[in-house]
Symmetry: C3
Amino acid sequence: MPARLAELAVRFGCELRGDPDALVERVAPLQDAGPGSISFLANPHYRRHLPGTRATAVVLDAASAAGCAVNALVARNPYATYARIAQHLYPARPVPGGRHPSAVVEAGAEVDPSAWIGPHAFVARGVRIGRGVSVGPASVLLEGVEIGADTRLVARVTLCEGVRTGERCILHPGSVLGADGFGHAPDVDGYVKVPQVGAVRIGSDVEIGSNSTIDRGAIGDTVVEDGVKIDNLVQVGHNVRIGAHTVIAACVGISGSTTIGKRCMLGGMVGIAGHLVICDDVALTGRTAVFKSISKPGAYSGSLWADDAKHFHRNAARFNRLEELARRVRRLEGGPGAAGGGDGDE
Amino acid sequence: MPARLAELAVRFGCELRGDPDALVERVAPLQDAGPGSISFLANPHYRRHLPGTRATAVVLDAASAAGCAVNALVARNPYATYARIAQHLYPARPVPGGRHPSAVVEAGAEVDPSAWIGPHAFVARGVRIGRGVSVGPASVLLEGVEIGADTRLVARVTLCEGVRTGERCILHPGSVLGADGFGHAPDVDGYVKVPQVGAVRIGSDVEIGSNSTIDRGAIGDTVVEDGVKIDNLVQVGHNVRIGAHTVIAACVGISGSTTIGKRCMLGGMVGIAGHLVICDDVALTGRTAVFKSISKPGAYSGSLWADDAKHFHRNAARFNRLEELARRVRRLEGGPGAAGGGDGDE
Amino acid sequence: MPARLAELAVRFGCELRGDPDALVERVAPLQDAGPGSISFLANPHYRRHLPGTRATAVVLDAASAAGCAVNALVARNPYATYARIAQHLYPARPVPGGRHPSAVVEAGAEVDPSAWIGPHAFVARGVRIGRGVSVGPASVLLEGVEIGADTRLVARVTLCEGVRTGERCILHPGSVLGADGFGHAPDVDGYVKVPQVGAVRIGSDVEIGSNSTIDRGAIGDTVVEDGVKIDNLVQVGHNVRIGAHTVIAACVGISGSTTIGKRCMLGGMVGIAGHLVICDDVALTGRTAVFKSISKPGAYSGSLWADDAKHFHRNAARFNRLEELARRVRRLEGGPGAAGGGDGDE
């Protein structure tokens, strides 16, 4: 769906520097773009590709625009503006409405006529599916599931009993919402299963990545608020609450009954222990482990990084004797531990 | 299914302090409970919610009972007792027996008439399914699979050729048992695939979480013993053996040919290298990495924790020069390295 | 399919020490093998099982052959030779050709008559499936997917729009290729979804493990080159490129736009940040986190290891004051910080 630069500038509130009649019809990275492509520059890391680009137009900020030899769409927030332009050039395909003959929809399910139920999907009785919803191939919706308008289950999504989602969500293939939380009470002869009688409630505009898992509450619900974005292979334990507009990168694990605030950013492979409270506006860099609640907004880290293997292992071996090293320093300082006894600086 | 407190006290061996005729019909957390609810107190962290609870009854231990203003069911093990009461209030739905018309069951599969084969399930020839088994929607059972009585495949479970499970297991959506282990022999021009000719054997009373993966053995089987509980997104490599009543939290990875003892507890995101032996009764706290066998029961840790990002990075940079720091301390102590040469305390 | 040792020696280029007419028909581990079994010795860790083995034959190298009391097939690379012999003893079942009546193949899909489309599979219009391909049960192939000859989708594989694979690939159950990458542009009122308009291109002889996820490119494709082997529960972000013959163990996460070289080895749970370049021939040991590009081949590490929990926590607490410790050492050395001020060795 080609668009004139003048139209894009008006529609998305950019300043156009260049030819208003130039047409773009696809997006491309700066370095690979050709005529008809629009590109963007947001990460300064890629500024080196700007002078040589053959894109028809580039979305960028005013500071970078001077170095742009082709048409420029100057935006306050180039990445968000690019995203909106790309949505315009690649409109989502309309949902057809109806159901594939191979789908199984049990009597007593309420499916809006504008919704689509794909091949081999299963929709149990008591499910309610809103306007414009798309239930992709091989998805499984167990009893009592409710899906808000315009939500899209791409394919092979599983929603267990009573899971509810808001509007305009996207659930990617293999995601599982509402399976039992991990509740096992130890007893003398093994574990007793703790029934997981809560459900999962997902807000609107939430995206959940491929093969991610969000468990149902043990008692009370697991809650994901509006605008939350969750990447692939993320685990969300029972009775977790995730605040609005928090983003969670891939391979993160959040243990049960933990509350995460609004507008947090969790880097890849972050792990958070159970029964904690993370306040609003916390950023956790990749691979950080959180074992205590965090009550102050800000950036937190906790991961060592790759080093030459031999060098790393020598330092790691020292780490294992770090307390002893501290004690030796204390002795050198002539502190209470100087005679080899206690360590005064504990 | 409502129950009188007197009945619960007798059935589950608690001491009732309060009204024997009071009825409970659902469970709720202490702080959200209303009339008709039963709650429990096991984690002292939540004791602050006890005085204000509006639950009809609370399951707790003798030490906490004094602070309980409502009916109390006093139990030696409140959490396990609560679990049993909750199972009683929320009985599992009986398995109907039969098969959905959309299921595909190949000739030569032996399915007990009391078992249920759900919508879009596939059961290959040579599969044997026991009494009371429930094969949930869209599950795939390849040749030679055997499922013990009363085991439940919730939905979209994949069991590859020859996987066997015991009785009363629960397999959650997206779990994959018996796919090929990761065996590739390096050769001059790339890797040669090593056929994975073992299978997977699961004991009884095992629970396996959503999207977890348990690979078939390379030669010989991968074995999960009775009573093991595995959370979501856990990887179990080929020829691993997991001892009875071990519990494994989410996002754990266990590399091939490792043996884990009985009654171990693996915290979230624990990683265990291959070809190791972990003895019985080992607890690994969240995110611990294990690169050597463990022969002594006890608790082991290995993860740093979240810190202010700048503070953490300064310390991590020091970590990378830790050996040098130790050498400087040695010099200050006047050791063999004092002249700047070797380090005597290696 | 039994084989004579003489035939195996000729076919796979080994030196036979023993009875050329001895027959083997299955593989077994050294310690469990009985008559009719062939075993191998590659990992010296298992050499202790050699003297007592009851295998009919063992594949091993010349150095170990002296200690072998049964028939020996002496090979330069025993593990790769064993792998080829096992492939010979356990030949892959021929793909039948055709489609199961429950499969849905839309008009306009091009399926080679020799390919198999399994039960409950869905093949959208515009899909092209090559010679000898096997599409396992409940797999979902969306529009424009192309699958090269002799590739096998074991079961429940999801290939989103436009994903292309080469020949002889194996995709394990639950794997998801081509779902949207994680692209969300922050704006004043939440995040704007960035359309992910690239695809996924997989080379030939690639294996992808159960429940692994490989996202489509944001602009431009995500690329996995020939001979790459990926284990279970691995996340590959959008626009990643993985070089030929790289092997990736389970639970690894690779963030978007990172390039990994050829012949790399990534241990389990390795995490790599986005927009990095890892050169050829890099080995990352298990659990290493990579936050910077690596331009020099070699082995890199970054994970502490399990220690007695109390001992570990004391050292970890010291880690959090490591910079302070270094400053105290500097003072003892009489450096610029001696008066308690700045730290000269930053």
